[in-house]
């Protein structure tokens, strides 16, 4: 079946007007599958890192949210060891008016503002609450080890 017009348009716009610090390139053999890289936001423990993600647009996109996962290891209370992301707009708060661009921006914002009160990685969230400077140091360390550009 032909790719829906919306996906074609979104891809075109992502290429034509890329978001600073975010890159999303569709696979040649599957235009619903994107290789994504997000730069860690400035003034965050992830600054200087480039994080790789995979993004897949399911059959009923945009009625259902895209499936996104971190491929690069990251120390973050809302991202677990498998790279799964706890973000409301990727789940119940998804709306068809959102798009790949806005979702990736939300993920970038999540890197800048970790939310240990709604954790996915419990151990990380616990540490974040009890010893924030220590947790941030670890996050910075992991960024240097795993997300070096």
């Amino acid at each position: 079946m032909a790719l829906p017009k919306r996906i074609i348009k979104e891809t075109e716009r992502l290429v034509a007007e890329p978001v600073p610090g975010i890159q999303a390139i569709p696979h040649d053999d599957n235009l619903r599958y994107f290789d994504v890289s997000i730069h860690g936001p400035a003034q965050s423990p992830y600054e200087g890192g480039v994080f790789k993600l995979e993004l897949f647009l399911p059959e009923d996109y945009p009625m259902t949210p895209p499936k996104i996962r971190f491929l690069t290891k990251i120390y973050h209370p809302n991202i677990d060891r498998l790279g799964r992301i706890c973000l409301d707009v990727l789940k119940a708060n998804w709306s068809p008016a959102l798009q790949i661009r806005t979702i990736l921006l939300s993920i970038q914002a999540l890197l800048g503002a970790p939310n240990p009160d709604d954790p996915l990685a419990n151990d990380v969230a616990q540490r974040w609450k009890e010893d924030e400077p220590g947790a941030i140091a670890t996050a910075r360390e992991w960024t240097q080890t795993h997300a070096a550009p």
Binding site: E59, M63, S95
Partner: protein
Amino acid sequence: MVDAVLSASVSAAPDRHKHSPLEVDGRRKELDTASPAVSSLESSASLSKAYNLAQQGLLPFDNDFPSQVDGRLSDEMKLLEERIMAKIILRIRPELDCQVCYSFLRLPITTSCGHTFCQVCLKQVRDHSNLCPFCRRLLSPYQAVVEEKANRRMRTLLSNLFPDDVAARDDQATEDAQNESNHVPIFACAITFPRVPMFLHIFEPRYRLMLQKVISNGSRSFGMVSHRRGPVPSVDGDFDAPFTRYGTMLYVTNLQMFPDGRSLVETIGAYRFKIMSYAWQDGYPVALVERIEDIAYADEENMEMMERMLDATPGNAITLASLSHLPTQELHRQGLEFVNSMRDSSTGWFADRILNTYGQPPQDPAVFPFWVATLLPVHEREKYLVLVSTSVRERLKLVTVWMRSMQQRSWRFQWFLYRLLGRLPAIGIFLVTIYILFTNGKDAAERQAVVADDLSVYFIGTIIAIIATATVFSRARYRT
């Protein structure tokens, strides 16, 4: 949204005027005197006049936006207005893309929260969520969204300002619809057969969308296949999908929609098909299918003759081969006889209730096996063989094997035992009640005293006894 677009379009106008203060001053004076008479808008329509009226709140909502340049204006003025108009059009064009499909709005519907989407898009959204995609405010109830007519004002605006876009979008929609009509939507659920009714409760968003599409495009039909369990059946060849390759086209005969978007659907099998290729669309499969037909009568007769010549002796085991000596007509007759005998002994599979729903056994030997296959509790793998068979004789033989093996297993005796078991609790209650009622006391005098003392116990006992008796004698009849 309409108001927003309108004011956006008129607000684009004034900055042009600033470059020619002379004209503006001259016109403004004229406009101010003319403004109370709104009807003059038609006679000397111009953008700046409309803008002034709108600014003063005097532009009636129902008035058409003046899209033509007035003939009495000076050439310079005309040129200016044309340029402003072009600018307006350029500016508002991006506002007119639907935020769901990213295409130019088609049959726009405006929500109560003031956001506009394509009719089709909004319906689809409503199947998944009851919130506006834009502002997440609550949308109207499902039914209201589905029946909502397109925003007339918005449509006029679109077709006046962007006739080319509207035409292109309509063409695209027709093309999409055509593509879809070549591809049949597929519902993977169960094995169904031609000429046999099938009842469905549709609640999943993707299948709601599918149902809406087949109803609105007038075809009222979709393909039903079964989920594949286990390895690919040999008849399916290299067809490696999570569903079977052969299925039945269902035609929607009756549809009852619930306010929340679920629906009860009555369908009847139309014809059998084979899936040639398939793809996924909006969460459900769509397929190119090829209709399959039974072999010709002449071939059927040849087959019957050959089989009867080669296998003249009946075998003991119940196999397809052991039936080869029988004429096709005889197979059908035996089948009908089996059904009748089952019905007379009030067997569950052929209870009156079921016959009322699925109809009496078909007299057409081609359809009879389908009917039996729908009703008899046989494994889906077996039923699939009946579905894919293109020979009436072969199908009759398949179902005759089922029916005979059921008889041979003396399943009626088992059935009787089963019925008896079903009755046991009722019989138990019956006996216990009798016992309580009549042995409540040790002797007759005491028993009478008890009964007389407590009439209610007596009444309740009697009622229980009646119910138990009724159950004992009626239970088996309606058991399925």
